[in-house]
């Protein structure tokens, strides 16, 4: 039996190139629409949470309070220390924005995580980079901050030519790159995995030559729901990690010399 070429178009990088909705506004594509919607959803949620404050909370208020206390206790207070209230709005906004934009990847009508287009994590990482460097410069002065970043205390002088470039690159250059690429790659790879199972399963089911191919297609489609479950976990975890690392970077910029 000769092998016939497949008319199967495997999902790849091209699956993420979405055209804009209107030709006259090339910036308004599905990613931008999801981001704008997420801003409205987040503002509505937190405004409603800030308003209705019964002393004995009902169910909805309990969920909002849990979310707020989660960000405040685990991320802000434990990591930044006693000065955390200045940075709490930033951390709550980042956590909410990254979480909602990740969850668009499993929401039935959108099914595309916003961070799978690399510009969005780049923008968020740029914001975090400006903030943690700005905070450090505001507290220690420009050269004091560079000294505090590149030179941990207690390093002997002969190791300075090795330690200073290494620490400088690691703290100032590598941190925003890994922060953005971690979020981007998790969303990209997760969505690509979902696409492979769904598109591959559908192709096997509809165009399968033998009965075993069609059964494999059905199994692939059912297993794609398990992959959706994994995606919920990964998306929530990545939102948490982004915010925790932002808090950690702010905390290490503010750290005092011992």
């Amino acid at each position: 039996m000769s092998l016939m070429p497949l008319e199967f178009e495997a999902p790849g990088v091209h699956s993420f190139d979405l055209p804009p909705f209107f030709e006259s506004a090339p910036w308004f594509d599905k990613y931008m629409l999801q981001a704008i919607l997420s801003v409205f959803v987040i503002m509505a949620f937190w405004l409603i949470m800030a308003r209705k404050n019964a002393l004995v909370p009902g169910k909805a208020q309990y969920i909002g309070e849990t979310a707020y206390f989660f960000v405040r206790n685990t991320m802000a207070r434990d990591m930044i220390g006693h000065d955390f209230r200045r940075y709490l709005p930033l951390l709550i906004a980042l956590f909410s924005f990254v979480l909602v934009n990740n969850l668009w990847g499993i929401f039935p009508f959108t099914l595309l995580p916003t961070a799978s287009h690399v510009g969005w994590p780049y923008g968020l990482a740029l914001l975090v980079w400006l903030i943690y460097n700005g905070v450090g410069i505001a507290k220690h002065g420009f050269f004091g901050y560079l000294k505090q970043t590149s030179l941990p205390s207690g390093v002997p002088v002969f190791m300075w030519p090795l330690i200073i470039p290494l620490e400088f690159v690691s703290n100032i250059i590598v941190r925003p790159i890994t922060l953005s690429l971690r979020l981007f790659a998790n969303m990209f790879a997760g969505h690509l995995l979902v696409l492979v199972f769904v598109i591959g399963g559908e192709y096997l089911l509809v165009h399968g030559e033998t009965i075993i191919n069609r059964v494999a297609g059905v199994v692939g489609l059912i297993f794609s729901m398990a992959i959706f479950g994994l995606e919920i976990f990964v998306q929530s975890l990545q939102a948490f990690i982004f915010t925790v690392l932002t808090a950690q970077y702010i905390s290490s910029s503010l750290a005092e010399e011992h």
């Binding site: 690429l181 971690r182 990690i241």
Partner: protein, 78 residues
């Protein structure tokens, strides 16, 4: 006889090599979580929280590998 020609994605080979490190790293993280829970079961909550942070940071390298394998792995092909 012509030499054997390999076609396909070099990026996937690179990802396979790159996944060795994070695989060992994640195994080490959760091995220490298991050992710490065995020594002191009441510290389990704090340990699991740190374990998930360490997991995400280590896993980032493997995930960057698979993502960039798709983006850059097909250079040199038509």
């Amino acid at each position: 006889m012509t030499a054997m020609e390999l076609v396909g994605s070099l990026g996937i080979v690179g990802y396979g090599l790159a996944a060795i490190g994070p695989g060992i790293g994640v195994g080490l993280i959760f091995a220490s979580v298991i050992q710490g829970t065995a020594r002191q079961p009441e510290a389990r909550g704090a340990m699991m929280g740190t374990a998930w942070i360490g997991f995400a940071v280590t896993e980032a390298l493997a995930i960057i590998g698979i993502a960039l394998a798709f983006v850059f792995g097909f250079t040199g092909q038509a």
